[in-house]
């Protein structure tokens, strides 16, 4: 079984804020991590490999510093790490990102492709299903359990709003996974040492054979027009005084508007 896990390096971004006056970003030394959902995808890939044999490749698209995420994946036990990197990818939206990743997956070959359900920076959840479409293979999103996997066949549970669906699919297939699927392992010391020395396979636009029109900004149907801080509610009321005084004022206010 050949498994490819698509991962993304993201800023551990809970603390990123925007200054509403200057519209600039306040970012104080935010470290980069592997997108948390992708950690579950890596774990799923390793577990399938350990059951069925074969190998797991971690694939990421990004600038050279995304190598850090790949080394972390290697330390967890993936067999191969691939960095898809090219200046021409700049400005890629989900369409162009998925198109490039699909090109790389085609080169690598895969029976099962795993992605986290979404990245915590963009939160779109679109790249996975788009890769499947470009590869012309089926996909199942929001996988919370893998019930059975064997040659040419997989059966999984897909998380839905009111419960879950049991879905079966032929292989190759692409799965996007949720946190409930598993508990990601920690890297071993041996794994860390090996990861330091491992060779990262590099691919660029020529390796995946994508034309100018489908790359980066040119290949991206969507564009960011501007970014801004959310507005402040105009009619808000901030109470003053001690806790007791503020609570009293709130109760009075709520009586006024007949909410109590």
């Amino acid at each position: 079984m050949k498994i490819v896990v698509c991962i993304k390096q993201v800023p551990d971004s809970a603390d990123v804020k925007i200054n509403p006056e200057t519209n600039t970003l306040i970012r104080e030394g935010v470290p980069s991590i592997i997108n948390p959902f992708d950690m579950h995808a890596i774990e799923a890939g390793l577990q399938i490999r350990d059951k069925t044999g074969g190998d797991v490749a971690a694939l990421t698209m990004g600038p050279p510093q995304a190598e850090g995420a790949l080394r972390e994946a290697l330390s967890l036990g993936v067999n191969e790490a691939v960095l898809l990197s090219d200046r021409a990818f700049a400005g890629a939206d989900t369409w162009a990102t998925a198109y490039a990743l699909a090109g790389a997956v085609k080169k690598l070959g895969a029976d099962i492709i795993l992605c986290g359900k979404q990245a915590i920076d963009g939160d779109t959840a679109q790249v996975g299903p788009e890769i499947a479409e470009f590869l012309d293979i089926p996909h199942v999103a929001y996988v919370r359990k893998i019930e059975e996997v064997k040659e040419g066949y997989i059966r999984v549970q897909r998380l839905m709003d009111e419960g879950y669906d049991i879905v079966e699919s032929s292989l190759p297939v692409l799965l996007t996974v949720v946190k409930e699927l598993n508990v990601p392992r920690m890297p071993s010391l041996k794994g860390k040492m090996a990861a330091k020395k491992a060779e990262i396979k590099k691919m660029n636009r020529d390796d995946i054979g994508i034309g100018e029109a489908d790359l980066g900004l040119k290949g991206s149907p969507t564009q960011v027009k501007n970014i801004f801080a959310p507005e402040i509610k105009a009619d808000r009321k901030m109470f003053e005084g001690s806790a007791e005084e503020q609570v009293k004022a709130l109760v009075a206010e709520m009586r006024n508007i007949k909410c109590l």
Partner: protein, 396 residues
């Protein structure tokens, strides 16, 4: 277009680095360098004191598609087991406004369900409903859904396509956008028409932090967007409203995936924060023990307990309570946020609540930006007082 740094002018002051929301500016050999993460948002241009960053514009791309011929707004009306999802009505409300603004029509596509559901969509604002009356559509399956919607869009050529950002919409819409080679913007919180260009302005929370981004799909059609449930207001329900219902037999659409069972897990015990009129929510500041206090406050008010992401990640409370971008979107009458700083992922999940009461010790916390009423103080002092005063007020 691309953005480049003039290395001769760059002094290596790093001013530009902090302005980049995408972490795309790195320092190399003491000079700034813009890497592949660049989304061309242009914010860094004005940040450089030396004027060393500039935009290189290329002449308009010849590959731009011919956009004439695309008109109208199409809503994907989601149903589960034959019952229309509430987000369908909300999308019709939003779609009606966009269509009226463009002076074009509003249609809906309904896969599965029955004639009464189609009629309901008319009463909620659709001019035409395309009803793919096929029992196999009652169960959601990505490939048949993607094929039907793609083919429909190619034939009818709507300018705008809206769908719910539900597990269904978020799963198969990307396939449609990929196939049609057009843009799809996820989780929009506001949709408007640019009066000059007639482009759809799609606003969505971006980049983890407290940031909103306006996204355009300027050179491709249709402009596709998903919207989370309960973010848009429903339009007006007009019983007896007349419209056209077109029944379509789509024939056999093959699929490589098969749904073999659907398991409903929503028990009477599980919290339904969607339906609650009052939600008392806690953030990291509450701590594990503090949630007991919130439960008491919620029970005094006949409400339920919610949470931001941190307490769920910490395991203090289960995921079904989570409000926000990766949790549920809620719209109660009263939302009380305790010890929640108000990261935008949380705000998008609750900011359309009627009344928002925020309790936080930090007067600068972003939660106060969306609050109706703000109490600045220690929540371990404030919450017990709230319990006491609300009890008194209700005569308990």
């Amino acid at each position: 277009m691309s953005i480049v740094v003039n290395r001769d002018k760059c002094t290596g002051c790093e001013e530009c680095r902090n302005t980049c929301p995408y972490d795309a500016i790195v320092m190399a050999d003491g000079k700034a360098f813009i890497n592949e993460y660049c989304q061309l948002c242009s914010i860094c241009l004005s940040a450089c004191p030396e004027g060393a960053i500039r935009e290189i514009k290329e002449e308009s791309e010849s590959s731009a598609k011919d956009l004439s011929g695309y008109a109208g707004v199409l809503v994907f009306a989601e149903q589960r087991g034959g019952k229309l999802a509430s987000v369908a009505f909300e999308l019709l409300g939003a779609g009606r406004k966009l269509a009226d603004n463009l002076n074009e029509g509003l249609s809906a596509i309904l896969l599965g369900a029955d004639a009464s559901a189609a009629n309901e969509l008319i009463e909620w604002g659709a001019d035409i409903v395309y009803h793919y009356d096929e029992p196999s559509f009652n169960k959601f399956n990505d490939e048949p859904y993607a094929s039907a919607l793609s083919a429909h869009i190619e034939e009818k050529m709507p300018a705008i396509v809206l769908a719910g950002a539900t597990p269904i919409g978020r799963s198969f819409l990307p396939r449609v956008a990929a196939r049609l080679r057009t843009g799809l913007t996820a989780d929009c919180t506001s949709l408007e028409i640019d009066n000059e260009t007639k482009n759809l302005l799609q606003v969505r929370p971006a980049f983890g932090g407290n940031i909103m981004a306006t996204i355009l799909t300027p050179n491709h059609r249709p402009q596709m967007a998903t919207v989370r449930p309960r973010v848009m207001k429903r339009g007006e329900h007009q019983p007896g409203r007349k419209g056209e219902i077109v029944n379509i037999k789509s024939g056999n659409i093959s699929s490589r995936t098969k749904v073999i069972d659907t398991v409903n897990e929503e028990s009477a015990l599980s919290v339904n924060i969607h339906e609650a009129e009052i939600i008392v929510s806690g953030g990291r500041g509450v701590g594990k023990e503090g949630f007991k206090m919130l439960e008491e406050l919620a029970s005094v008010l006949d409400g339920v307990v919610g949470a931001s992401r941190a307490p769920v990640d910490e395991g203090w409370i289960s995921y079904s309570h989570q409000v926000g971008q990766t949790g549920k979107t809620v719209c109660p009458k009263i939302y009380i946020a305790c010890g929640i700083s108000g990261a935008v992922q949380h705000l998008v999940g609750m900011q359309s609540s009627d009344i928002i009461i925020a309790v936080n010790k930090n007067p600068e916390a972003p939660i106060f930006n969306v609050a109706t009423y703000g109490i600045v103080g220690n929540l371990f002092e404030v919450v017990p007082l709230l319990i006491k005063k609300f009890k008194e007020a209700k005569g308990i």
